[in-house]
């Protein structure tokens, strides 16, 4: 099954290419920490606090992403390129090794370089950061992301190997690998979004395996939707590794069955060639077919020119692939019948969307058959909070809740069927049926329903426990302009104070609230602190407001901010006076009667304003801010011509009429 000699040969053969990629990744591994170090060193040399940098996941070395998008596929194409040339293919098929041995040994060589490269570079980065103050490396997050990246590379290698086992030219290898990696999910995603667009109550997780994250696919698409990349690498590891192992098994079977004579041909037979051609064209057709479907439901205005253009492009792509891979004009005619399959596929796709939509809309859930519900408030790839994670696990048994949600669902369905628009707050609800099945639905609640929902939830013992339990020992904390020690002390005080509050009071603020029933806060909001960590293999990020609701936390927050930002403020004024600022900005927050502060711009280019602010800050230094009196914060940031950057906040009391006059809009 495995030949160590062939493995060594594979390593040796791919050494130059691997060395090039690892050198690029290593540059990132060294230069990114070094640039952070030099930035911090410069800040320290200047005498101000550089602030804490938390290194999570890919922050350690974003360059490593090339291992998945370039290194792994290119190295696979290179090392197995013998499959594309007749003489090379004959050579490797004549050697005294079984095909699976050749496959396993060369694949192991690829994975050694790619995954070894990732971990080597990560180790170098972590070692460098180990000696750097002011940087907190979330080691667990970095390691989990690198594990996800390694698994993503494995899937890319496996998909490329399947493609190379069924095609015999570089172009067809690449196209087929892309189809294998992206087409199934693209079809599922488009299908799902077509159904969801038609039937808004359907939850994406109810349709297929989209709830599982395929790392390479989701990474490529997160580039468009701006999702949390670290999150998908962590959450997708298990599914991706299972998929990669299945793909590798398929690849080894196909490799074993592959005929040496396929080398140089785009496909081993006409059927495979037709399948590839049709699928390429189908990818282009899908959006056009979707547009027609949406038009049928009158949810969008039809762009017939766009639809026609897409179908024409699909036909062009269909024939272009045939021409490029076979280089025979006569094959155009032979490929014509395959267009019928393409048409059929589009019809099947459209019919599937319509049938699924019909089934969902006509499926009635009876209150008597619902045993419990689970509620989820977060929908995107964004990291969920600690509380949301725990809320999702709560199985809520309350008939009032069931009735409320099912009534809202019926109203939503009626609105869809009547094609009327509605507004409301969305909840993802999983109904646990008495017979053991689960049904997921998105439900939009009106404001009054949301209010009732909140009241029912507040009465629930389990929910109260979830809402009032903040993470005890998060992996890391983050708050702007504060040191690690300050964050730790502030968070510890917050935990103490929250434990003494009741759920309705604590849960009344937008950032803390789960689910998102919101109201304006009666307390001043000074900032927020984030807790990052892991809960049952998934990451969480909880953000808590620092407000007057937790007065000791607020006082401590203000104290640390002033203690740790005073020098920065001094430096800001010095740089301004010496005209060394490339760009800068400042504002004053005025704390009034609760909620977010009122922001005023200030003209710090005016020497009189600067002098006044310097005086106010100097007076406040070392003196606690009295939150019962009029109080403000000075927020500033500046970058010098030489690239040094400083930012900070400073809280102060003032009744100075000049200062108050200075604030615009009062």
């Amino acid at each position: 099954m495995f030949s160590f000699n062939l493995y060594k040969e594979g390593l040796r053969k791919s050494l130059p290419l691997s060395a090039l990629f690892i050198a690029i990744m290593m540059l990132g591994a060294v230069l990114i920490p070094v640039s952070n170090i030099s930035r911090h060193a410069e800040s320290i040399r200047r005498g101000f606090s550089p602030g804490i940098t938390v290194i999570n996941g890919f922050d350690a070395n974003p360059v490593l992403i090339i291992s998945m998008i370039a290194f792994a596929p290119i190295l696979t194409l290179f090392l197995f390129s013998f499959l594309n040339k007749r003489n090379r293919s004959d050579f490797y098929h004549s050697i005294p090794h079984k095909r699976e041995s050749l496959f396993a040994s060369f694949t192991a060589a690829i994975l050694t370089w790619v995954i070894g490269g990732i971990w080597l570079c990560t180790a170098v980065t972590l070692i460098i950061y180990a000696f750097v103050p002011y940087v907190i490396v979330n080691i667990t997050s970095v390691l989990l992301v690198m594990l996800g990246l390694s698994v993503g590379c494995l899937l890319v290698v496996a998909a490329t190997l399947i493609a190379m086992s069924i095609t015999g030219g570089m172009f067809s290898n690449i196209i087929t690998a892309l189809l294998i990696l992206f087409l199934p999910r693209t079809i599922m995603m488009t299908f799902t979004s077509a159904v969801i667009d038609s039937v808004r109550v359907i939850a994406p997780e109810s349709l297929g395996i989209l709830g599982f994250i395929n790392i390479p696919f989701n990474f490529m698409f997160s580039a468009f939707d701006g999702g949390n990349i670290d999150q998908l690498f962590i959450r997708g590891t298990l599914y991706t590794v299972v998929l990669a192992v299945i793909y590798l098994a398929i690849a080894v079977i196909l490799f074993k069955r592959r005929k040496s004579e396929t080398a140089g041909s785009p496909a081993p037979n006409k059927i495979v060639q037709t399948i590839i051609r049709v699928l390429i064209a189908f990818v282009v057709c899908i959006p056009a077919t979707m547009m027609i479907l949406l038009n049928a439901r009158q949810t969008h205005r039809t762009d017939w020119t766009g639809i026609l253009a897409l179908y024409i492009i699909a036909v062009i792509a269909y024939f272009a692939y045939e021409l490029i891979t076979t280089r025979k004009l006569s094959n155009i005619l032979k490929a014509l019948p395959g267009l019928g399959i393409l048409v059929l596929l589009n019809i099947v796709f459209a019919a599937g969307v319509m049938a699924t939509s019909h089934v969902v809309l006509n499926r009635r859930i009876d209150t008597d058959n619902v045993a419990a519900v689970r509620v989820q408030t977060s929908f995107s790839m964004e990291t969920m909070s600690y509380e949301e994670h725990r809320l999702r696990e709560l199985s809520l048994e309350d008939e009032r809740l069931n009735a409320l949600l099912l009534d809202a669902l019926s109203r939503n369905i009626a609105d869809i069927q009547a094609d009327t628009h509605w507004f409301g707050s969305r909840l993802a609800v999983e109904f646990e049926m008495t017979r053991g099945r689960t049904i997921r639905r998105n439900i939009w609640l009106l404001d009054n329903e949301l209010q009732v929902f909140g009241e029912i939830m507040s009465e629930n013992e389990q929910f109260r426990a979830v809402a009032m339990t903040l993470p005890e020992n998060p992996e890391s904390l983050w708050a702007e302009n504060l040191s690690e020690e300050a964050m730790r002390n502030i968070y510890a005080t917050l935990l103490e104070e929250v434990s003494a509050l009741d759920v309705a009071t604590w849960n009344d603020f937008p950032l803390n609230a789960i689910p998102p029933w919101q109201s304006s806060s009666p307390h001043n909001i000074y900032g927020h602190i984030e807790a990052h960590g892991f809960i049952r293999g998934d990451t969480y990020r909880s953000s808590y407001l620092i407000t007057g609701l937790t007065p000791r936390t607020a006082d401590m927050f203000i104290h640390y901010i002033n203690a740790e930002n005073y020098e920065n403020a001094r430096w800001y004024f010095d740089e301004l006076q010496s005209s060394n600022a490339r760009w800068f900005g400042a504002s004053i927050n005025e704390y009034e009667s609760g909620g977010h502060p009122r922001r005023h711009s200030v003209d710090t280019e005016n020497p009189e304003v600067t002098e006044l602010l310097e005086q106010v800050i100097a007076v406040q230094r070392g003196v606690p801010v009295d939150r019962d009196r009029a109080h403000f914060s000075f927020n500033f940031h500046l970058e010098t011509h030489s690239g040094e950057f400083v930012q900070g906040v400073f809280f102060f009391n003032s009744a100075d009429s000049e200062l108050l006059d200075m604030l615009d809009g009062r």
């Binding site: 000699n5 062939l6 060594k8 040969e9 053969k13 040339k85 007749r86 003489n87 090379r88 293919s89 004959d90 050579f91 098929h93 004549s94 050697i95 005294p96 090794h97 079984k98 095909r99 041995s101 005929k259 040496s260 004579e261």
Partner: protein
Amino acid sequence: MIKAENLTKKFNGFRAVSSVSCEIPKGCIYGLIGSNGAGKSTFLRLITGVYKADEGGITLDGEPVYENPVIKRKLAYVPDELYFLANSSMKRMASLYSSIYADFDNARFMELTELFKLNPKVNINTFSKGMRRQAATILALCTNPEYIFFDETFDGLDPVVRNLVKNLITQQVLDRGTTAIITSHSLRELEDTCDQLALLYQGGIVFESDVQNLKTSLFKIQVAFLDAYDQERFEGLDILNFSKKGSVSNFIVRGDRERTKEFLETKSPVLLDILPLSLEEVFIYEMQALGYAFENILEEDKDVQL
């Protein structure tokens, strides 16, 4: 021993090798001739386990070759289209072969590169076509194979090197009992090297024989009589081709030379000459006897036609 039974290989319905059956004994140099597309290379790829037969089978020492590393370890293959690693030297290729073939003989490799005056450290890309073929031959011989297969091996070699390669192959067969199969589209290339020859045409072996036997089994007779006569006078002889001009007849006889001479002398000819045939002439007449036109079989290579 190599044994092919009803061996068939098809490409998109085209039968490149069609129901070939043959037995090649150990220690034999077996020549396979045929025009381009006759199926020689496909036959070799089947023997070396590169291709899997669609029908029938092929065994070496009674074992199938395809996906059989134990058998493949015993064979070496020099294909018509050679393969070397990109920008590699012979030394690098020797290292590749060492990692694949446990018995690769590095001492012999150095010895042979010296004999062929090939610098093992130089990039093979700088080699001429002939030098590349020599390099591939050296690498194959150094694996110490029990079976060695050469596809159009003498292509591109100058006469001196060609003889050197032939001698090496012969030496290998004599010293180590290796079985060799050599393909060529030129009969002349093979007649002085091979023990057995087979002619491949449209994927099938149309003729196969021992070379020594071939050379002695057919001979040309030139005979004349004073009285009138026709072919019936020679009834009892196995005549392949008969022509008569005036009183002189020319014909090809298959059989024992001495007994034929004795038979003809009993007829009291005024002229009797028994002439030997070249291997090519033997092939022509044997093929004609089988109903093939030899010129057509090797039509793609005009310079080897007779």
